[in-house]
Subunit: 298 residues, 2 copies
DNA sequence: CACCTCCATATCAAAATGATATATCTAAGA
DNA sequence: TCTTAGATATATCATTTTGATATGGAGGTG
């Protein structure tokens, strides 16, 4: 069986209108064509679908059975077209984002704020991971895109784009504020209690490597569960912490927090946008990608 | 939006195969046409549906959303075609028949037996009515066709076809068998206890009218609920009954039952096939109509 | 009885589709 | 590295289908 599905569309309208002439008008077509189409359909199905009269047409018992199926089918097609139109116009959709915490703070949050303002209909799901977790989630398809920080190893199946660099700095609370005017080496710094994220994060790995390059063991006294906790810990003098510069620009970011000068500056880190190679992003995700990459120019 | 539904069929197969070439083969078409169709569909929807590669194609997120709808739609279309094919080949379907009891016995039962043998997949629903009830059920659309006996008034919205005549006869049990050799008038008959169907039946009306024409009141002593009960009542000598000749041809029909000769013969009655004017019968019902009307020739 | 509406038919131009040849690209294998 | 197999993309033309218009015929309705 290989019947043109357009014939069913015509059938659908004729059945609904109970009139060939009216159906033709709805279909933006003319009555002779609709008559011909219905005749063709009946002939291909080998079965009369309508009873004709001068007052219009109505379904035969077989026509009614067919109509029940066709009606459901076309309602689904219409729903699909509707959904697609909404997604296309960014009125609806969902984005799943994997973001490391630092990348979220340094890059993503203001962009998402603007995105939400522009496209309030799009659901945004941010999974708050460490960088390796975000990369794994992307590989598994749990998220559509990831925004992470170097150091990071990108598997071949993913494509990474550097978006911006950010500079981290050492900061202390009032108890250590006497250090503020001095220019410190990492070795001196290691003599004070240090605050860092957990061992499984790229941030930890980054500082561990940085200290190791100068032959110093990196042994933080306090391990923060999230990057958000570092500034409060510093403020309460639990030790010296490392935070991106942009953290201090936030409201209350510099209250009772003192930046420290280092002899060898901390190398800058990079925020990267990552997606799966060869996979298509949804329209909503493409728009976000575009907005993220626009940051690159700045 | 006015997209050819045939495009969706192509989309459906390409999405299922994840390959334009394979889909073309399934669609009994060629790869360039399928490529062209998908491109047209994407262009009309304003949305990319597939990611192309040299190994095949796969759906974009929007394509997947659309596919979910299209898949359901096409399963319904296929189910509809399937159902129609079964009905057309008389492997499936339902007939609702309204039949008066006498019509059922005199005409319909052997036909239905044959019908069932030929088309075991068709559900047959016989509503056992009196003739007026069968006509009412047909008018209300509760049944598709009716088989009834005269006298009957056919409304303008129904079409009646006479199928066969049948002759009724008076019969008695052994207690009245002394009447067997005599030729009786209706007046004489009225002196014996009579058995008939209830007042609301056309059979009652028929005999009432018959007796009245000769100035005799028709006052049956026993009112049978169904025509089937008349012969047993007669056999047990509750009175003289009237039954169609064909009742006596059934197994056990003539046991201890004696036909009576009447001076003025009972006028023959007619079994009629009735359907709604201008309405189409289902294929299953048309076949039955055909078999019933074939009886007419005999 | 004229008129209006609705379906059926005929016909031709226009558009879509089917078919074939060919180009292009990529991964796999010698 | 070169070739080949296998996939999609493009170009083109004959064929088929569809769109449009004119017209016929059969019931209702005033």
């Amino acid at each position: 069986m290989n019947i043109s599905y357009d014939y069913y569309r015509v059938f659908y309208y004729v059945a609904k209108c109970r009139s060939i002439t009216q159906a033709a008008a709805l279909l933006l077509n003319n009555q002779p064509n609709v008559t011909r189409t219905i005749k063709s359909l009946e002939s291909e199905l080998g079965c009369t679908l309508f009873v004709r009269s001068r007052q219009g047409v109505w379904l035969t018992p077989e026509g009614e059975k067919l109509f029940e199926h066709v009606r459901i089918a076309f309602e689904h097609i219409e729903a699909g077209e509707e959904e697609l139109a909404l997604e296309k116009s960014l009125q609806r959709g969902t984005i799943y984002i994997g973001a490391s915490e630092v990348a979220l703070h340094c890059l993503l949050l203001p962009i998402l704020k603007e995105y939400r303002k522009r496209y309030p209909g799009i659901h945004i799901r941010v999974s708050n991971h460490s960088t390796p977790q975000a990369i794994a989630a992307l590989k598994n398809g749990l998220v559509d895109i990831a925004v992470v920080t170097t150091p990071v190893t990108i598997p071949k199946s993913l494509t990474s784009t550097a978006i911006m660099q950010f500079q981290e700095m050492a900061v202390c609370g009032s108890a250590f504020s006497f250090l503020e005017e001095r220019e410190l080496s990492l070795e001196e710094l290691a003599g004070f209690p240090l605050i860092c994220l957990g061992e499984h994060t790229k941030t930890y790995e980054f500082y561990s490597e940085l200290f190791l390059q100068q032959g110093i063991a990196f042994l933080p006294s306090v391990e923060a569960a999230t990057a958000d906790q570092i500034l409060p810990l510093v403020r309460n003098d639990l030790g010296i912490g490392f935070v991106p510069e942009s953290f201090l620009e936030q409201p209350g970011g510099t209250d009772a927090v003192y930046p420290l000068k280092l002899k060898s500056p901390i190398p800058p880190r990079t925020v990267c946008f990552v997606k799966r190679t060869g996979f298509a992003l949804s329209i909503a995700a493409r728009k976000l990608e575009e907005m993220i990459k626009a940051q690159k120019a700045d």
